[in-house]
């Protein structure tokens, strides 16, 4: 680990000023991913600006009738909040499916969005990796990629995004709020993560030095009939192989609002818009659902050793939406 300075801040402006004056500074939330990566010098900040004592914690009602979750709210508190559980149950389930009780107590909502891929080559400094060392190559493409992307990868990077929470946020049309020295701003989660292209090291649309302050969930997306289902190589305490977050409204057998997002299949939560469009406004039938899932996965480009994820994602979409419809 490289040496670094440590500052605890009480005001957002103080935090922004510190990072503006030191481009090597990084915000410290729970540290569950950042400190881990610092140990192998994959991250080497000059300074850690500890933002956990900013007044950004807690879940509150948003002006539009939705919910806003403060960026420094712990994953545990977000998942346990009664209104999150009542109105956006898939979000609670997604957070609870991630990591362990200890790590959820530490990790913040803002930090969860910014966690880096768990690709083993990224985590091993003695390997090349375009995300870690741009231009060095992607050993996962010819190598071990059993648990890598099937959508939207490039020859520069085939890694997946590890967050469970972000998958549910994608299905609920969440918005990320942040602050810079220019003032507050926001960006839809659907535009928060950048496509891989030839710049896999550029992961989010956040401007340099920006501090995430909250994530908001629109009222319109509130859906008690929602579910997160995660499949992984161990029953708990493992990253997703494929996961699905889905919210479904049915009116007299017709599909109303439907939100579906997949985890473990791309460098970002994969919003299944093709499947959603196929389902929306139509009568809910098993055949229609299978066709919708099929249509979504038609665009998948599996790697040499992860074609099973296409099958798994298709099956999961069908299983989760069927379960929701039968409630």
């Amino acid at each position: 680990m490289k040496e670094f300075g440590y500052r605890r801040v009480k005001h957002v402006q103080e935090a922004l000023a510190l990072t503006a004056n030191d481009t090597g500074a990084r915000y410290l939330g729970g540290g569950t991913n950042l400190v881990d990566l610092m140990k192998d010098e994959i991250e080497a900040p000059s300074q850690l600006v500890d933002v956990r004592f900013l007044p950004l914690s807690g879940v509150r009602e948003a002006p539009d009738g939705g919910l806003a979750i403060g960026a420094t709210t712990s994953n545990s508190d977000a998942a346990a909040h009664p209104e999150v559980r009542r109105r956006y149950p898939a979000l609670s389930q997604a957070v609870l499916a991630g990591a362990s009780g200890q790590l959820r107590n530490m990790a913040t909502v803002g930090g969860n969005l910014l966690q880096r891929t768990r690709c083993a080559y990224f985590a091993d400094p003695s390997e090349p990796c375009n995300k870690r060392l741009p231009g060095s190559g992607c050993p996962a493409l010819p190598g071990e990629h059993h648990n890598h992307a099937i959508f939207d990868w490039s020859r520069h990077c085939v890694a997946t995004h590890p967050s469970d929470m972000a998958v549910a946020l994608a299905a609920f049309d969440a918005v990320v709020h942040y602050e810079t020295l220019d003032g507050p701003a926001e960006i839809p989660l659907s535009e928060f993560y950048l496509p891989v292209g030839d710049t896999p090291h550029r992961e989010t649309a956040l401007p340099p030095g920006a501090l995430i302050t909250a994530v908001s969930l629109p009222k319109s997306a509130a859906c008690p009939r929602s579910r997160y289902r995660k499949v992984r190589e161990r029953a708990s305490y493992a990253f997703a192989t494929v996961s699905v977050a889905a919210a479904l409204e049915l009116h007299d057998g017709l599909v109303g609002r439907v939100g579906i997002a997949l985890g473990g299949v791309a460098s970002r939560p994969w919003r299944a818009r093709v499947a959603e469009a196929a389902l929306h406004g139509e009568p809910f039938t098993g055949a229609g659902l299978r066709d919708a899932a099929e249509a979504e996965l038609a665009a998948a480009k599996p790697l040499r050793d992860n074609g099973y994820k296409v099958t798994l994602a298709r099956n999961l979409i069908v299983a989760v939406l069927t379960e929701l419809a039968e409630r």
């Binding site: 050993p139 059993h146 029953a235 493992a238 192989t241 099973y308 099958t311």
Partner: protein, 699 residues
């Protein structure tokens, strides 16, 4: 149950909690890296990123000016080691650290950086400039690899009984299948750690190992010291499972550091280094051919196994061991091929050989039962041998049939529909399977001292190890019985090489071996005249009694039953029930023995469903060298598990006991794989049964 007629205590056979329990639940038990020490320095290991090659240069100049750095050891300045120092099977190159510029495998130690604090040592290790020339390497194991050659036969000659080819040709039903198991890692929770220092002319160490005496002897030999110049202690050890059976790199390097810098040095491997540097269970490929008559009588077993090895050190993954003793048959042939590759030398992992071998044999038996239309339980009972089918020796206590019958009764086996893919619960498929196992048991020489103190208490000293096995607690019971006193009058000291030669906690031979020495010492002490005025000590080394001849086939046995659910839409396999019935001789402490065999079954569960060391095809290095990538079972993977023992007393073994350390692991993978077949109708001959191998296209 038969026990010696003159036993007057209930010491053996009674459940008692662990003696060290209060220390372990309050954080007071000190493991190898936990001892505070004056003037302690810290060594961090730098390892090779390449799988084969040569060190071109190590430039320590920048590192030597870093804060706190005491120095850097590499092949140019490290103390010289004796190349003849022996590991499990002769000279062992895995111990020849920092002796040459040659790099034989990825993760090989190339330097040790020593500094005042752990941070300073780590920062300097990260900054050390090591330049390596990479040479072409081969880390891809296949059974028909051209470098393959016959394995050593030190663990037993190949079996050549009867005419296997003729019997197979005339068998109406034949199974001929290949089975694959990957590299697996012991993954004890405590990473290998050692603290070494010099006390006068004496090398002292706290080390994480499975046998303090064996480690001390090897350490002395490696550094060309006299045995009495070396003392190794390992009071508490955070698990071993085979991986701490040898002198480990942590102690070799800590010793070098203490010699070079003249102060105590602690070396703790990182978790990644444990994966890369410590011997794993080698990958295996096995071909099993079984021939049988239509009534289920076996005519032939042909078990051919190949495993990977390193040119640095001999190893035998003795996969066909069980095929030589489990079933009666007219013809048996076993062959073992070792394939040298550019790997960390493989080593023992819980039930070496037998565990992957059991997966192959017991899967094949299940396939045979399926093709014969005979219940898998019945098939095994029909092939109970009268004498060892290879050795011709009579069996000692053999209660495999009792394990199978009692296990089946408790498990509810008899209501099973033998047809696969018949049982559904909602969207889940449900199946059950079983496996039978045998695990050889014997006692090896050890030294025990017992002192009759003047207050009526006794002190037992033996260099036994407690790696989670409960040895202290079990040996106190053994000693109490042998001395005819209550356990409260026994004190025990273990895990110190100064206590003399002793077998290590390995091969499931720990308790029988130590019990033998304690029994002999107790017997002789009881023959001594009692003296209330001064302590009387008797020391016995059972090497003087050891013949090395075995006149009977003595094995522990088990029957494992598993029930799994399979979600065909996701490929998720969950073990819902697991039951083991064991015949392990007399059970010294049922509470602890049950824990041990259940723990073994859980390791087998991991082997069946999760565990797999994955190598990058280009670099040859293990990709998943951490607990996020190498999945050992977590709480949520493990159901409540039932394990119990059939009453047994093994007259050929000290105190009537057989080993219990490994047999739990052995049969479990096959039982689960057979249950997955029963649930889905699909055979899994490749471990682990990952979800991508199970997930089905849904109509």
């Amino acid at each position: 149950m038969n026990a010696p007629a003159d036993v007057i205590t209930d010491a053996v056979g009674t459940s008692r909690p662990r003696l060290e329990g209060p220390e372990k639940v309050s954080g007071r038990a000190r493991y190898a890296a936990d001892h505070p020490m004056h003037d302690l320095a810290f060594g961090v290991v730098v390892t090779s990123p390449v799988a084969r090659g040569r060190i071109r240069d190590i430039d320590a100049s920048a590192v030597l000016t870093m804060p706190g750095v005491l120095g850097v050891l590499d092949h140019r300045n490290a103390p010289r080691l004796d190349p003849q120092a022996s590991g499990f099977f002769g000279p062992d190159g895995s111990m020849q650290l920092l002796q040459s510029d040659s790099i034989p495998h990825a993760g090989r130690a190339v330097a040790l950086v020593v500094a005042q604090t752990p941070h300073e040592a780590q920062a300097a290790a990260d900054a050390l400039a090591v330049t390596c020339d990479a040479h072409p390497h081969d880390t891809t194991f296949t059974a028909d690899h051209p470098a393959g050659r016959a394995a050593l036969t030190v663990l037993g000659e190949d079996a050549n009984v009867g005419d296997v080819d003729a019997e197979l040709a005339s068998s109406p039903v034949v199974v001929d299948e290949r089975y694959f198991t990957p590299e697996e890692h012991c993954s004890a929770m405590e990473p290998h750690a050692a603290t070494a220092w010099w006390d006068g002319g004496r090398l002292q160490a706290f080390d994480s190992n499975q046998g303090a005496f064996d480690v001390a002897r090897t350490l002395a030999s490696l550094f060309s010291l006299e045995l009495d110049q070396v003392r190794v202690r390992s009071e508490h050890v955070g698990g071993g499972f085979g991986s701490k059976g040898l002198l480990g790199p942590q102690l070799i390097l800590a010793t070098m550091g203490s010699m070079a810098f003249g102060r105590p040095v602690r070396v703790t491997l990182t978790r990644r280094q444990v994966f890369l540097m410590i011997g794993m269970r080698p990958a295996t490929e096995q071909r099993v051919r079984l021939g049988a008559d239509t009534d289920g009588s076996l005519r032939a077993i042909d078990h051919q196994a190949a495993f990977e090895i390193s040119p640095l050190a001999e190893w035998v993954e003795n996969c066909p061991e069980g095929s030589k003793v489990l079933y009666a048959t007219r013809a048996i042939r076993t062959r073992i091929t070792a394939v040298p590759l550019d790997l960390t030398p493989p080593g023992p992992m819980r039930g070496p050989g037998l565990t992957p071998g059991s997966f192959a044999l017991e899967s094949a038996m299940d396939e045979l039962a399926e093709r014969l239309g005979i219940d898998p339980l019945e098939l095994r009972l029909r092939n109970e041998p009268a004498v060892g089918p290879v050795s011709g020796l009579p069996y000692g206590s053999r209660n495999l049939a009792a394990c199978l019958r009692e296990g089946a009764r408790r498990f509810g086996w008899h209501s099973r529909d033998p047809r696969p893919r018949r049982r559904r619960e909602g969207h889940l498929l449900v199946g059950t399977g079983l496996a039978a196992t045998a695990f050889g048991s014997s006692a090896f020489p050890s030294t025990a001292s017992i002192t009759a103190e003047t207050d009526g208490s006794y002190t037992v000293r033996i260099a036994a190890s407690d790696i989670g096995t409960g040895s202290r607690t079990a040996l106190v019971a053994i000693a109490a019985e042998a001395l005819r006193v209550g356990t409260e009058r026994i004190r025990i000291r273990i895990a110190d090489s100064d206590l003399g030669p002793a077998w290590s906690a390995s091969g499931s031979r720990g308790t029988p071996s130590w019990a033998w020495a304690i029994n002999e010492a107790a017997t002789r002490l009881r023959e001594q005249p009692h003296d209330p005025t001064r302590p009387v000590t008797v020391t016995v080394d059972t090497a003087e009694l050891f013949t090395g001849r075995f006149v009977r086939e003595v094995h522990a046995y088990s029957a494992i039953f598993a029930e799994v659910t399979v979600d065909p839409a996701t490929g998720e396999v969950r073990t819902r029930r697991l039951l083991g019935m064991f015949a392990i001789g007399r059970v010294v402490n049922p509470l602890l023995a049950r824990s041990q065999v259940i723990g073994g079954m859980i390791m087998g569960l991991g082997m069946a469903l999760h565990e797999e060391g994955v190598r990058d095809p280009v670099s040859g290095r293990q990709v998943n060298a951490d607990f996020a990538g190498y999945h050992i079972p977590a709480h949520a993977d493990v159901p409540d598990i039932e394990a119990d023992f059939v009453p047994e007393y093994e007259p050929d073994e000290p105190s009537g006991v057989k080993g219990a350390g490994e047999i739990g692991t052995v049969g479990t993978a096959a039982a689960i794989a057979n249950a997955v077949w029963h649930a889905t109708g699909l055979r899994h001959r490749v471990l682990p049964i990952r979800l991508d191998r199970v997930v089905e296209e849904m109509a």
